[in-house]
Symmetry: C2
Subunit: 355 residues, 2 copies
């Protein structure tokens, strides 16, 4: 690991009220950055005041989507300590994303340590109310000023952070999901399993369309047969189905969520059977109608768990669990947020202390 | 159209030798830019000295692949005039790309006029040897510093340019193409028809793999059935097949090339039958073997026409036209480059004079 040079801001910002701050805009005072080139590898890790970055307009990131990112959080425990949730999982996934896009990879342990140092500097920005946190956004992009289509030899890695409140301001409440049958987010053989910009660019239009119709999220179906449910907007999908925890199997076009993985581990530790398999839209709609689908929820870092109250496909609408939060959904939410905010014992060793 | 403010550089660069300059790196002295916000629309079109741009590290373009681009060229005719090739086609396509990604669109005529003004300022950069040109790169990206996944309300449009020599330094010569059976570039319902960063990010790995094996380009197959040929690397595919000009039909995952469209129009004007249809990898391999595929070539702005000498799928290799440039391939190349460089009459009104 290289030494991290720290330059503190002389002009600290006023911290926002985490109860009312919108997601993703209240950036902190500093940012982490380091650069890569194919001759020297990673160089010059540093923490500097948050501010604009300067790039050649020919840089790859502006043209060929050479960008991958991660999202995780730092939480404050009741005793005032700051901790992160499974950061190594995020950097392992970032390496997988980077491999798919031919961006440089890095040592996972080093990356966690750089992140830890960064959060240490921004410690005062981690809010202390349950449900609020500091959202951490590592990202990595190609910077060669070269419009020819070939490999990447220069890249920048950064971490920025912003204060976030509870994702759903009015509390955990079931949402209706629109099943998207036109636009496709990702396909097997493509970049769906990678957390890269292109997937989100492909997803924007359907998200906007759903929002206009009053739905908070879409359900993506697979791009090959347009038959299987894959993800829920920017989160993974989970069902309590005939008493088992069922989720779409990782097939190359689904992002392998850290929350998804953690919930599967939790459920198994509770003695619940978990099933990762293909799930057709038809059987999901049918299962909601006949009640074999007992609960449905989305899971991801931003909102932890989002209960699903119903699914809509064209004119067809089905309700899940009488549009109420399910027992398992609530239990998963309580357990995960309990561990994250340090209210419950961390039996799996998932948290990493910052100081 | 708004007035374009021009600020000239006080520090002009030395112009490169177009005979030896690599593609995509020799940027000119100026760049065009203007900004968009959802309240005021497009604002402040200007031409300024080429240089780094400053952006908030939270800007959408770094995270969610909110970026589309175009590629076209300015050519110098024997009489010294400068002209562009079908620029309105590029801006129509850019609007289609922008629509898919929820980026703002613009008036095509205005955009052509802005581009014309820009090239006028950079006129001296347009080289005068046949085969050399000034490559123009309009691009458009989202700049909201907001990590929430929703619509785009701030964007920047820019044009940069670089001097390019002949794409293939050693002249027009047949290349072998590797049929890519693992990685997928784009899928129907996704963003394949849009010229957006994510498609190129998805394409990098296969391109690198092919290059390592000694192939200059891959052939992409469709992402749904993995059965039909779609494109050749960053170019469209064309075949002379049983005396007809045959090309994969536009299906949503293929980029609708301006060169492709122009060649179809040319061939029809020559009385040649053109066919846009699905083409399986199997029938292509078979057609090359039994000689019904008489010629194969790629087409695109960068190289105009690239003859194909053979296709490789795993262990299987087939040769096209004895690995020689076909008659039609050469004729298309001569006609198109003739019109572009002002050596031949522009019967279709494809060129737009800059001054
Ligand atoms: C498309 C998509 N799926 C799933 C997830 C959930 O992943 P994680 O649990 O690692 O946050 C995310 C990120 O939050 C995502 O962007
Ligand atoms: C993927 C892809 N296909 C095809 C083309 C050809 O398009 P055009 O003829 O407009 O240059 C390009 C761009 O050059 C491309 O990037």
């Amino acid at each position: 690991m290289m030494e991290v040079k720290v330059t503190k801001t002389t002009n600290p910002k006023v911290k926002p009220d985490p109860a009312t701050v919108p997601f993703g805009v209240a950036f902190t005072d500093h940012m982490f950055m380091m650069e890569y080139d194919s001759e020297n590898g990673w160089q010059n890790p540093r923490i500097v005041p948050f501010g604009d970055i300067s790039l050649n307009p020919g840089a790859l990131v502006f043209h060929y989507g050479a960008e991958v990112f991660e999202g995780l959080k730092a939480y404050r425990t009741p005793s005032g300590e700051v901790q992160m949730f499974r950061p190594a999982e995020n950097f392992k996934r970032m390496n997988n994303s980077a491999e798919r896009l031919c961006l440089p990879q890095f040592d996972v342990e080093d990356a966690v340590e750089y992140l830890r140092k960064f959060v240490e500097v921004e410690k005062d920005w981690v809010p202390d109310q349950y449900g609020t946190s500091l959202y951490l956004r590592p990202f990595l992009f190609g910077t060669d000023a070269d419009l020819a289509l070939h490999g990447i030899s220069h890249a920048t890695f950064m971490v920025i952070a912003c204060v976030v409140g509870s994702y759903y301001k009015s509390g955990l409440a079931p949402v209706d999901m629109l099943i998207e049958m036109d636009d496709v987010r990702a396909v097997r053989g493509g970049t769906g399993y990678a957390k890269c910009g292109g997937n989100y660019a492909a997803a924007t239009r359907a998200g906007e369309k759903a929002a206009k119709k009053g739905y908070s999220q879409v359900v993506w179906v697979d791009g090959v047969e347009r038959k299987y449910v894959e993800e829920g907007g920017g989160m993974n999908l989970m069902f309590v189905w005939d008493g088992k925890l069922v989720t779409p199997e990782l097939n190359g076009s689904i992002l392998p969520g850290v929350t998804r993985k953690s919930i599967l581990e939790l459920a198994r530790s509770w003695g619940m059977e978990t099933v990762e398999r293909k799930i057709t839209v038809d059987e999901l709609m049918e299962g909601c109608k006949n009640g074999t689908v007992q609960e449905a929820f989305m899971c991801g870092t931003a909102a932890v768990v989002t209960p699903i109250g119903g699914f809509v496909r064209g004119e067809e609408k089905v309700v899940v669990n009488h549009n109420k939060i399910g027992e398992m959904t609530q239990k998963v939410y309580d357990e995960l947020t309990g561990v994250q905010w340090g209210l419950k014992e961390d039996k799996f060793g998932w948290t990493v202390k910052v100081d």
